[in-house]
Symmetry: C2
Subunit: 221 residues, 2 copies
C-alpha cells in the first residue's frame, strides 16, 4: 500500500509582492521567527505544542526548515527559552528604569510590574512550566536557565541593596535576602496562575510590601 502524503499544514510564508512561491530570509531572521512561533505554540498547546510540525506550521514554513536552521528540535527550544527569558527581564527592567528614580520608587515599580498582566498571566506561566519540565531533563537547557535565573536574582539584589543603603537597613546577607524575595514573587505567581481565585493581585503586592517591612524591621539583619 502506498504511503499517504503527509499534510504539511503550511499556511503562510507569503512572498507578498513578487510572484515567488516563498521568501528567503536571513538565517538570523528565520531563527527568530521560528523561536517566536515555538513560544506561541507552547502558549496554545503546552507541552504538546513542542513539535516540529506545529511550530513550522505556526511560522508558515515547512518542517525541514527547523532541521536546517537548528539541527534538532531541542536546539530550537533552547533558543526560544533564551528569547522569552531575556525579553521578560528586559520588559521588567524597562518599567523600573522609567519609574521615579529613588530606591523606593524603583522597587515599587518592580513589584507593580511583577503583578501586572505582563507577568501575572496564565499563558506566561504555562510557557515557563513547559520549560521547567524540559530544564529538569536537559543539561543544555539547564545551563541557559542558570544564566537567566542568576541575572534575575542579581537585579533583585541590586534593587534591595539600593533600598537598604538609602534607609540604612541592616542586612546580613543581601544575596540570601534577594533569593527570598525572588522566591516569594515566584511562589505567589505560581499560586495565582494555577488558581486565580486564591487571592487578588493587589493582595500579592501587599504581601511584597509586608516582606519589605520585615526587612526594614531587621528580620534579615
Amino acid at each position: 500500500m502506498a504511503r499517504q502524503r503527509e499534510d504539511t499544514g503550511l499556511t503562510k510564508n507569503d512572498p507578498t509582492k513578487s510572484r515567488a512561491r516563498f521568501r528567503r530570509e536571513t538565517p538570523d531572521d528565520r531563527r527568530r521567527q521560528l523561536g517566536e512561533a515555538a513560544l506561541r505554540c507552547i502558549v496554545k498547546h503546552g507541552n504538546a505544542g513542542v513539535s516540529v510540525r506545529q511550530i513550522a506550521a505556526e511560522a508558515g514554513v515547512t518542517q525541514g526548515l527547523i532541521t536546517h536552521h537548528f539541527g534538532e528540535l531541542n536546539e530550537l527550544v533552547i533558543y526560544a527559552f533564551d528569547i522569552m527569558a531575556s525579553e521578560m527581564l528586559q520588559g521588567l527592567m524597562n518599567v523600573v528604569d522609567q519609574a521615579d528614580p529613588t530606591p523606593q520608587g524603583r522597587l515599587n515599580a518592580f513589584i507593580e510590574a511583577s503583578f501586572s498582566s505582563m507577568l501575572f498571566d496564565r499563558d506566561v506561566l504555562g510557557v515557563w512550566v513547559v520549560f521547567w519540565g524540559l530544564i529538569l531533563h536537559s543539561p543544555k537547557l539547564s545551563f541557559s536557565q542558570q544564566r537567566e535565573f542568576s541575572g534575575y536574582v542579581k537585579a533583585v539584589e541590586a534593587l534591595l541593596k539600593d533600598l537598604a543603603d538609602d534607609e540604612e537597613i541592616a542586612v546580613g546577607d543581601m544575596r540570601l535576602a534577594a533569593l527570598s524575595f525572588s522566591a516569594l514573587l515566584d511562589g505567589l505567581w505560581l499560586a495565582w496562575c494555577l488558581n486565580p481565585t486564591t487571592f487578588k493581585p493587589e493582595e500579592g503586592v501587599q504581601l511584597c510590601h509586608n516582606w519589605i517591612k520585615g526587612l526594614r524591621l531587621g528580620a534579615y539583619a
Copy 2:
C-alpha cells in the same frame, strides 16, 4: 503489506504460585498500582512518561487495562495526582505531629521537613511540574489541584495561627500571611530544584526563620 504486531513491552503481572498467566486484582488495587506506576514513569521521563504504553509496561500489564479501569488516560493522570498530593501532605503532617507539641516546635518541624529530601528533591519537583503543565490545560485536574492547594495553605495557616496566638503576635490577615509563607516555601523549592547550586537547604531554612522573625516584628500586623 501486513501491519506489524505491536510490542507490548509487558514484563510483569506475575501470578507467582499458581500456573495462571495473569492475576486478577480488585479494581481498587489495580487502579492504585496503575496510579503509582504513572508516577514512576513521570519521575523517569517527565511529560514523555505520561503514556498509556509506558505506564502499562511499568505496572507489568497491557495497555487495555488502563482503558478498562480509567476510560481515558487523563482520568488516570488525575488519580495519580491525587495519590501524590495527598501522600505528600500526609507525610509532612506526620512529621509535624511527631514533633515537640508547642507551636514553635511544630512550625520548626514543618520547615525542617519541607527542606528535607522528602520534598527538596528534583524528582519530586519533576512530577509537580508535569502536573502543573496539565493543570493549566485540564479543568478537571485544575479542580483537584484547588482542593490540594487549599488543604496545604490551611495547614500552614493553622500552624501560623497557633504561633501567633501563643506569642501574641498581631497579624492582620492570617490567610494572606499563610499564603505568603507557602509561596516562599514553594519559590525556594522551585529555585533549588531547578538549580541546586544556588543555595543550600540550610540557607532556605534560615530564610524561613527570617520570614517568621518579620511576622514577630509586626510586618504583617
